[in-house]
């Protein structure tokens, strides 16, 4: 027989029909015998109804908000087919001299840097400004590139998952440079444009399986809420089939991109002009 304390703990699940058949029978039996718990459950149900009626599902729409939003929408709609940055505050390098604060390295005679640039070109087709910026310090360039190689071009997790982690962590951190690059990677990896739109808007990873989705949620929370990560997120990830080594790799990708995000944003590193359409 359940104790009153246990019935009180299950009361919302009872009211919402979230109990298993066995639990439901036990609660029903207890409620038949115990008027105190019946009072609690009735009161809780009334509370729920009161909340539903009292808490406004719609707030009043201020006129000023309406005007601002209408002009923001009109401005964006008149820009033509989804081109141009949505918030207009990211640096894009251009010949017109609108220089960002910190310049990616364009010319160098450092053999070590040149060798790494060659490797990057083989993998990515060109040398992104991310690496050109690190190149001011060859040791750091070497470290950054070797982490990208081992995490993004090797390892056990799928490239889709890893680029999804890079995208969402960068979006949460507000790094438009990384978002543009990894959105493009996801497209290259065959993610449907409409699935990508959904992902960017609602963060629902429709293109990932359950284990990858759990790893993505874990990595996302590790980035935005490291002090308050509910322990059962890790347990759920394991239950979805992820090994601890996979968990570590997902966290590693998060860690890599959150550090790239900080570097790129603080130095206001420019997005390559050819990437601007990805914004």
């Amino acid at each position: 027989m359940l104790k009153c304390h246990e019935v009180t703990a299950l009361a919302s699940d009872w009211l919402d029909g979230e109990l298993t058949v066995g639990q439901r029978m036990k609660v029903r039996l207890h409620l038949m015998m115990c008027r105190h718990c019946r009072n609690l459950v009735d009161g809780l149900a009334t509370t729920q109804r009161i909340l539903g009626q009292r808490v406004e599902s719609e707030a009043a729409i201020p006129d000023q908000f309406l005007q601002r939003t209408t002009s923001a929408l009109e401005a964006r709609l008149s820009e033509g087919a989804s081109q141009g940055p949505p918030n207009g505050n990211i640096a894009v390098s251009d010949a017109a001299g609108n220089d960002p604060a910190f310049h990616p390295l364009q010319e160098t005679s450092d053999d070590r840097v040149l060798a790494i640039f060659d490797e990057i070109r083989q993998k990515e087709g060109y040398v992104p400004n991310l690496f050109r910026t690190y190149a001011h310090n060859p040791d750091l360039l070497e470290q950054a590139w070797s982490r990208v190689k081992s995490l993004m071009y090797n390892g056990q997790l799928s490239p889709r998952l890893k680029n999804a982690i890079a995208t969402i962590v960068s979006q949460d951190n507000g790094c438009d440079y990384c978002v543009a690059h990894h959105k493009r990677m996801l497209k290259t990896l065959g993610v449907e444009p409409s699935d990508l739109s959904t992902f960017m808007a609602t963060s629902e990873p429709v293109f990932l399986g359950p284990m990858d989705a759990a790893l993505l949620q874990l990595a996302r929370e590790a980035n935005r809420n490291p002090h308050g990560m509910p322990p059962d997120l890790i347990a759920n990830t394991r239950a979805a089939g992820a090994s601890d080594s996979a968990v570590m790799e997902a966290i590693g990708v998060m860690e890599l991109y959150s550090s790239f995000n900080r570097m790129l944003d603080s130095l206001n590193v420019a997005l390559e002009p050819e990437m601007a359409s990805e914004l």
Partner: protein, 208 residues
Amino acid sequence: MSEDMEQAATEEQHLVGRLRQRDASAYHEAVQRFSGSMLATARSMLDPATAEDVVQETWVAVIDAIDGFEGRSALKTWLCTITANRARNRLRKSNRETLTDFQSPLDPSLERRFNEGGSWAQPTPPWGSESADELLSNEALKECLDKHFEALPETQRSVLMMREIQQMEADDVCRILGLSSANLRVSLHRARQKLFTMIEGFRETGEC
């Protein structure tokens, strides 16, 4: 499906089609129709000014995102999901809340009313036949409820708003708030208990 619902669904499909074609008048119509729910959702997590910013940004983002809308939920619910997803990121930057202790399903206000054996030490009196409507006819109680709703911990308030008021899917709420489904249930239960004890106290003393 009733005829009314079918008609509403067709109307919504038509609106979505116009939004996809980047029809400015469709956006104008949608902003007037849905911003109220989006603002209420954002305000459960943010101060009013930031909430307005987030809803405005959401509308601009919808221009690109609408292609991904599949109609699995109502358009309004989908818009609230995008709003909440963006609001949650603002939240992280502005403050950090004290975490709900997910291990205990009972709110401290109720927990202390049990003895060590798990039986009621201070049982809850019957709520009688007073219906929700009757209770809500009391202006002082309404004010008190608003005050306590505002004072709920961040997570509990946004869970109530998203799940109970905006009827968002549990999976969506979990993803946005970074909760497991078990912790979502705990948050919801804890929030209801807090407001339950508030209403109970009010009925006994007439004071907030």
